[in-house]
């Protein structure tokens, strides 16, 4: 009798556990930047409603996001499933096995019809697509109309044939500078960051800084273009003193918003900060060096499936839902003022008449710059080391370091760091 009771309960427990596990929703962890939480959350909730897959959204500020992924990657942690991937880090994560190839999850569709070509190129390494693009980016010139008028400068143009040069920017910045009122002529949105400053050496013919093959920087970070760009960056902060030292990328937009900066070179997303403010500002095309190429920063955030995830199929579903869905792309454009990587978003910006009206024209200008003058960041599996060293070198130059010796030192440090990938 006792045996029968035990058998009955065993069978009952077995069925109960099977039915419980069948009903329990699969749960995945999505690691994104804090700035993406608001635009993405409604779609993540919709994804859960449609698929039954629960998503735990974990957000991190820009600086902590990359460090978090590195630490989790080094620990081969399986508590992460879908991650934000900065476009130039795709090769690094792919080579180190941190993200999984997405080719098999997109095999039933033509990715060329979904994403803009630059996005697919940035998402891939060695012919495989690892992290489809969520959005794109483009840099333009914002200017304070009142400060320019007071200094007697002509307003920069949004027409290609009248694109302003860096020399003209500096000339005007010198007139705007006013130490007494703490007003500066110009500033870069992302001060001392490679993403934005790559445009300077590129415009002077210096290239991305990474040599072909992506495993060396010897001679590519200290060529004529890079050295001239480094000297120019030194001059605007030290010789001509038209751009402030000390300010960090979190403060630059606040300074422009407070009317303390004449010209601000930044991404399209900034327009949302000022469109409803009293600031009288205008928009123009990105500057370039006279006689050089017109080049601007581009690419943005991608999404990848964590290679150590135990829920790869569910994670891939989420990645595909968020990156390949036109609905998400349009929301990202409208709510975040970020350029789309999805073709439907690109068409939306091109065709919707609202983008012909100021200040939404920022999206149109940035799309134009990104489509025609995009400088993809250096493609190397050692990008993490490369970017950090280049960023600190730009910061040293801004703070008065000798440009030539700083760049020489950066080149040898990166070269040493690259040995791990050879």
């Amino acid at each position: 009798m006792i045996k029968k009771i035990i058998s009955f309960f065993s069978v009952f427990l077995l069925f109960a556990s099977v039915s419980f596990s069948a009903k329990a929703a699969e749960k995945i962890a999505l690691v994104i930047g804090t700035w993406a939480e608001e635009p993405l959350t409604p779609f993540v909730e919709k994804f859960t409603a449609e698929t039954g897959i629960e998503v735990d959204i974990q957000t991190f500020p820009f600086r902590d996001l990359l460090a978090t992924l590195e630490v989790r990657g080094n620990a081969k942690a399986d508590d992460v499933d879908v991650v934000f991937v900065d476009a130039p880090l795709v090769p690094s994560y792919a080579v180190r096995g941190m993200i999984a190839s997405m080719d098999s999850y997109f095999s039933d569709t033509n990715v060329n019809e979904i994403f803009a070509p630059a996005g697919i190129a940035a998402a891939s390494w060695n012919g495989e697509m690892y992290a489809p693009p969520l959005n794109n980016s483009g840099q333009i010139l914002y200017y304070n109309k009142d400060l320019l008028a007071k200094a007697g400068c002509a307003e920069p143009s949004a027409i290609e044939s009248e694109r302003i040069t860096w020399a003209e920017v500096v000339d005007c910045a010198k007139k705007i500078n006013d130490e007494g009122s703490g007003t500066w002529g110009m500033i870069f949105d992302q001060i001392s960051r490679y993403y934005q400053l790559q445009a300077l050496p590129e415009s002077l013919g210096g290239g991305s800084g990474v040599c072909e093959g992506g495993l060396s920087v010897k001679g590519c970070l200290t060529n004529d273009g890079w050295m001239k760009a480094a000297q120019w960056y030194y001059d605007i902060h030290n010789t001509w003193n038209v751009a402030p030292k000390g300010a960090n990328p979190d403060q630059t937009h606040e300074m422009f918003g407070a009317g303390k900066i004449g010209m601000f070179i930044g991404g399209s997303w900034n327009v949302g900060r000022w469109k409803d403010s009293d600031l009288s500002f205008g928009l123009a095309l990105h500057p370039y060096f006279d006689g050089g190429d017109v080049v601007t920063g581009c690419n943005s955030w991608h999404m990848g499936v964590w290679n150590y995830s135990k829920h790869k199929d569910a994670s891939a579903k989420l990645v595909r839902y968020l990156t390949a869905s036109p609905e998400v792309a349009l929301a990202y454009v409208d709510k975040h003022n970020s350029l789309p990587a999805h073709m439907s978003g690109v068409l939306h910006v091109a065709e919707d008449p609202k983008f012909n009206n100021f200040p939404d024209t920022a999206m149109k200008l940035a799309t134009y710059e990104s489509a025609n003058h995009c400088a993809t960041r250096g493609r190397t599996p050692g990008f993490l080391e490369f970017e950090e060293i280049v960023n600190t070198s730009f910061e040293d130059i801004r703070n008065g370091g000798d440009p030539a010796s700083v760049m020489q030192s950066a080149e040898s440090r990166i070269e040493q760091a690259m040995r791990r990938y050879k």
């Binding site: 460090a67 590195e70 630490v71 080094n74 703490g182 030292k245 000390g246 993490l384 703070n399």
Partner: protein, 298 residues
Amino acid sequence: MKNNFFKRQWIVPYLFLAPALLATIAFKLYPIFIGLWESLIYTSFGGGVEKRLFVWFENYQYLFDDPLFWQSLKITSILTVIINPFQISLSLGLALLLMRKSRFIRVIRSLYLLPIGVALPIATVVWGLMLDPYQGLANGFLGLFGIPPQPFLISEHQALWSIIAIATWKGVAFWMLFLLAGMEEIPTQYYEAAKIDGARTFEKFRFITLPLLKRTILFVFVADTATNFVLMVPMIILTKGGPMQSTNVLAFEAYRSGFYYQDWGRSLSIISILTIISLIVIGLQLLFLGENKEDKVK
């Protein structure tokens, strides 16, 4: 049986010590051993394949060939030589001041202890804002005396000094607390006897306070040195080791190698070297400042 077990009296002290010994092994010795072992491993991603190779001392060899390592070692040495005596002298001076009898001494002591309650990252951020060369409070204050604005953290000549100031503001009250407790322990009869003998304030300090405070000072010296060898929060938050590597101490270089570049072989090699340097410096402090046999006889 039970009685027999406890009759083996030699085992009793070991039983009492066992929890502490096990914790020391698990949380101190084991991580040090793992750190030393991993410093001999080189991780390569050549050809897109992750390989962990045992390379003996190759990571150390790369380190010794790297000018950045020697620069970091130089900055660490400068920081150690300056910050520890500076903080301890200041702590001792403050402790002496706060030993004075006054109606408001308890309130004044509490005020001096406030920085202890502020977390170092928060203190660092606040100091970063105050030392902002354009909008910071520090330059506004200096301006009152006609001193021109200083670059502080963005100058390669001032950044390390600024960090020393921040760390000292945060740490000096903490170390003062130990010295204050040590001074409170000194019997007042010694001072009364000295007063009768006609000793002046400095003589009382030189011949009573200092000798009787020697053990406390030694503890504070060793603990402060160990703490400052791993000081890197202000570097992480404010300077990233710059400008021009002027604040790039070994602890920060190890952190950067590990957490930014995931080069754990290099990171742990630096940590191992830093551990050895710390042990040598602390050993020297114990040797020269420790109690000698004559002190013990007395």
